[in-house]
């Protein structure tokens, strides 16, 4: 009953409803802009949340994530350009339906399948997160070290085809994390007598620099002038159609849950896997690729499920499994909130707002999705030069709100350049983000453990949780390496015998 009244209070006594709708709207608009991924949409709004109440800030970010996952399907269906990576699978049949003059229907199927996936994902988030987080209560410094290593082991599956580059990116991230005051001795490292660097480089600067600024720089001078059709109107599917789609939506939900829980899984993999499985189990597999409704429903249900289930490892253990959850983790850390059971105990209002805000956003998605479509089309059709100017100004204005610091602006711009060069050279971003986010935890827990044990390394093998986590990390790395080697060998064979 208390929970019921808490929810009523959240809806009436706080601006949560407003925050959820704003976040959702921003997310849909951002996700609809080709090149602006869900993580970039979230990173753009992250500096704004600095001055907000933490509960509202986290709810806002979660709602942006939900909105962006749906928004990405709009250009995927209308101009064959996925707004986000995870909507790439939607292009296949969504655009085919558009070509057949059924764009409104495809948008409706995408919206409703997204809502179903999001609701399922949210239910799993509510059911699984807190029980898992209680494991963290038994954590000692060696356990936290093991957890940090497990988080870093995600890198093995995030290397984008080159393990060496992925590892290099992670090492640079760890290097950035060493800037500031040393966690044990308190001496300054790499601060060069600049007071703004004493607290280190905030992860939000790294995220905004790498995601948003790099994207703007990369798009500079681009002549992509594809226009959306202003006349398109969304058409929600009938009950009979929903009945027809339930199998593909179920497949999307289950695979979305699995991929969301898996570090390195993510919406793109879930979407393509569910597209494939939906075709396998469909009674009309021949329609896939030629305008199948199920081919839109399955990937959309999957990537929207991931938008919620990817939060489970992030909230329970602080392990971000995707760029978007890394931004959300950055939002938590920015407000001094640490994932795990203490978050549930000490800041239940943050969790309640996250759940209730997400629920509002998912339900409101039906109405907002219909209303916002013309605005999304209008925004995407704005001339790119003005769009770039406004987004750049928004980013720099937002960064300044963090600490009123010009140094922060300089750091973000520099990281934008670093990100641009990394992208050109094929270095993935997520390992670097993981390095920045987890670096402090790995170093401080490692050194605290050694201080506790009198420099006896055996402390890491005496802690069962640490051993379990390290073994899991090792298993994960071995599995990823094996898969990478197998794929490389397969590609070589195909090259030799086309």
């Amino acid at each position: 009953m208390a929970t019921f009244w808490d929810i009523i209070h959240l809806l009436t006594g706080t601006p949560l409803l407003f925050v959820a709708i704003i976040g959702l709207t921003w997310g849909i608009l951002g996700g609809a802009l080709p090149g602006i991924s869900a993580s970039i949409t979230m990173a753009l709004v992250l500096p704004f949340t600095y001055t907000m109440d933490p509960a509202m800030a986290i709810a806002l970010l979660a709602c942006v994530y939900i909105g962006a996952e749906y928004g990405g399907s709009i250009p995927a269906i209308l101009i064959r350009t996925p707004g986000t990576n995870s909507s790439a699978a939607t292009v296949i049949d969504g655009y085919e339906l558009n070509r057949q003059g059924r764009a409104g229907e495809a948008l409706g199927i995408s919206l409703m399948s997204g809502v179903i996936g999001s609701l399922f994902g949210l239910a799993m988030l509510v059911l699984l997160t807190e029980p898992l987080s209680w494991l963290a209560l038994a954590f000692t410094p060696p356990s936290y070290f093991g957890l940090g290593i497990l988080g870093l082991s995600v890198i093995a599956s995030m290397t984008g085809g080159s393990l060496v580059k992925g590892l290099s990116s992670a090492v640079i991230g760890l290097m950035i994390a060493t800037v500031g005051t040393d966690p044990i001795s308190g001496v300054n490292r790499y601060t060069f007598d600049i007071p703004d660097l004493l607290n280190g480089v905030e992860p939000v600067l790294v995220m905004v620099g790498l995601f948003a600024l790099t994207e703007l720089m990369s798009q500079s001078g681009s002549s992509n002038v594809t226009q959306l059709k202003e006349a398109v109107r969304i058409r929600l599917p009938s009950l009979a159609m929903m009945n027809k789609l339930k199998r593909s939506q179920f497949i999307g939900c289950v695979l979305g849950l699995f991929e969301g829980l898996t570090p390195g899984g993510g919406g793109s993999i879930a979407a393509f896997m569910s597209y494939n499985e939906a075709r396998r189990w469909s009674s009309t597999p021949e329609k896939f690729g030629k305008g199948s409704e199920e081919g839109v429903a399955a990937p959309e249900a999957a990537n929207n499920t991931v938008a919620s289930t990817a939060l489970i490892p992030m909230l329970s253990f602080g392990i971000p499994s995707s760029n978007s959850t890394a931004v959300l983790l950055g939002g938590l850390l920015m407000h001094g909130l640490l994932p795990g059971p203490r978050l549930f105990e000490q800041n239940p209002q943050v969790i309640d707002s996250l759940y209730v805000g997400s629920f509002i956003a998912i339900i409101a998605q039906i109405a907002v999705g219909v209303v916002i479509l013309p605005a999304a089309i209008w925004l995407v059709n704005r001339p790119r030069p003005y769009r770039a100017g406004f987004i750049f100004a928004l980013i720099l204005s937002g960064i300044y709100t963090l600490n009123n610091s010009q140094i922060d602006l300089g750091i973000a711009l520099f990281l934008g350049l670093v990100g641009y060069l990394m992208r050109r050279a094929g270095f993935p971003f997520l390992p670097m983000i993981l390095g920045v986010v987890l670096g402090h935890m790995v170093e401080s827990s490692y050194r605290r453990s050694l201080v506790l044990s009198g420099d006896d390394m055996m402390i890491f093998l005496q802690d069962p949780i640490c051993v379990g986590l390290l073994l899991t990390a090792a298993g994960f790395v071995i599995f990823s390496l094996t898969r990478e080697l197998r794929d490389a060998r397969k590609a070589k064979l195909e090259e030799a015998h086309p």
Partner: protein, 159 residues
């Protein structure tokens, strides 16, 4: 040299700079066994090692390089976007430098106009209108609504 080789050299240079900066970290009486320089030194060697691997990979791949003409075309295409991207970033740098003197309202308006023109907006009345409109919109959001202490600069006392 290909991308991998060049990346390897950059990583080695970065490792060298980081190693030099690690030497500037002062000693502390509260130092533990690992110390404030323990992780940084390990990271330096890790990055240098990865740099060497990339460099070797780049050199080996260079021996089986694509025909010269194709490579030249590839380089040309890439070089065309690098100066553009850096040019884009320079507007941000200019914004940072003029912000304390010109103030937020003027700086952000100039930034919008400059970026729009740089990105190919036609030189028409729409550019200044978008710049002024955008500046006023952002000023209203950040300064008035969110209460961010953005520098007033030249307009000190007027707004």
């Amino acid at each position: 040299m290909n991308k991998d080789g060049l990346s390897g050299l950059v990583l080695l240079a970065l490792a060298a700079i980081y190693y030099w900066a690690t030497g500037l970290i002062p000693d502390s009486t509260l130092e533990d066994e690992v110390g404030a320089t323990g992780l940084p030194r390990a990271l330096t060697f890790a990055l240098a090692g990865l740099g060497v691997i990339l460099l070797v990979r780049g050199v080996l791949a260079g021996r089986q390089a694509a025909p010269k003409a194709a490579r030249a075309a590839d380089d040309e295409e890439q070089d065309a976007t690098l100066p553009r991207a850096i040019g884009f970033l320079l507007f941000g740098l200019a914004y940072v430098l003029i912000l304390p003197y010109a103030g937020y309202l003027i700086s952000v308006g100039l930034l919008i106009a400059a970026v729009a023109l740089y990105e190919g907006a036609p030189r028409r009345w729409t550019v200044p209108v978008a710049a002024v409109g955008g500046a006023v919109l952002y000023w209203a959001i950040f300064v008035k609504l969110l209460g961010v202490n953005q520098p007033a600069g030249l307009l000190e006392g007027l707004i």
